[in-house]
């Protein structure tokens, strides 16, 4: 089964917000990022990546002033296969992100009602991989 492994929050002040969640829940900072899409932090609870980001483009059509939950990410065995499946179900491909991105290649989709999510084969930094039996079954 695919696994939810990434939650991204849109923040005006990622530095302050990341500090809050580190102090509140002992989440660990695993990466600081400043790429073409966003500036911010990736925290981990050991299983899930919590990204706290100031976005540089309006990916969800709510304006660059939007703050709040932004998108989630799902770890899958095979991105290409899932991408085909998502398109068959009416998901709309938004963009691919990869190259030198740490943590692996991902594909962004809009699902029903324009909700944005990522699918990736490579675990986000600091997150749990897929359970072994799932990976073995896919190999």
């Amino acid at each position: 089964m695919a696994k939810l492994r990434h939650i991204a929050i849109a923040a005006k002040d990622p530095d302050a917000m990341a500090e809050f969640y580190k102090k509140a829940f002992d989440f660990k900072e695993v990466r600081k990022t400043d790429g073409p899409l966003a500036y911010g932090y990736h925290l981990s609870d050991g299983t899930i990546d919590l990204a706290i980001l100031r976005f540089k483009t309006d990916q969800i059509g709510k304006g660059l002033d939007y703050t709040g939950l932004h998108h989630f990410g799902i770890l899958v065995e095979d991105v290409e296969e899932v991408a085909r499946k998502l398109e068959g179900l009416g998901g709309k491909h938004y963009m691919d992100q990869g190259g030198d991105r740490i943590g692996g290649f991902e594909v962004k989709f809009y699902g029903p009602e324009g909700v944005l999510f990522d699918v990736a084969e490579h675990p986000w930094t600091g997150t749990e991989p897929l359970p072994v039996e799932v990976k073995e079954a896919a190999d």
Binding site: L4, F25, D45, G46, L89, G114, V115, L116
Partner: protein, 141 residues
């Protein structure tokens, strides 16, 4: 360490949205919440509860027609202890929710963190969510 175990999406049509995620990722339906705050469908990936909800009140101050990811939930060892900690860090307590119904024993507190981002904390977890690792729970007992 506390664990992220819940993500809630605000939907106009939770039924259709839940069908999409069930078909797309084999997420399993684990409940049909019907409460004062929202109706919808609970899905699980075996670790997290993914709630797809039609909200009945404007919890975020973004209007009733807000669609998108709404809040998340963190499973903690001790809700009271974490409530005190969160308030000392500047979080604002919003509401308590829980007990009885389809999910007896369930209790959560909702907080606004920095920039009014809403999140829940709970001790007993959401339907279909994995409990805290045994070592953490034992250490807390």
């Amino acid at each position: 360490m506390p664990k992220l175990r819940h993500i809630a999406i605000a939907a106009e049509d939770p039924e259709a949205m839940a069908e999409f995620y069930k078909k797309a990722f084999d997420f399993v339906e684990v409940g049909r919440p019907n409460g004062v705050l929202a109706d919808g469908v609970f899905l699980s990936d075996g670790t997290l509860n993914m709630a797809i909800l039609k909200f009945k009140t404007d919890q975020l101050g973004k209007g009733m027609d807000f669609r998108g990811i709404h809040h998340f939930g963190v499973l903690v060892e001790d809700v009271e202890e974490f409530s005190k900690k969160l308030e000392s860090l500047g979080a604002e307590h919003y509401i308590d929710q829980g007990q009885g119904g389809h999910q007896a024993g369930y209790f959560e507190k909702k907080f606004y963190g920095p920039e009014r981002v809403l999140f829940d904390i709970a001790e007993h977890g959401w339907a279909g969510a994995e409990p805290l690792p045994a070592s953490i729970k034992e250490a807390a007992e």
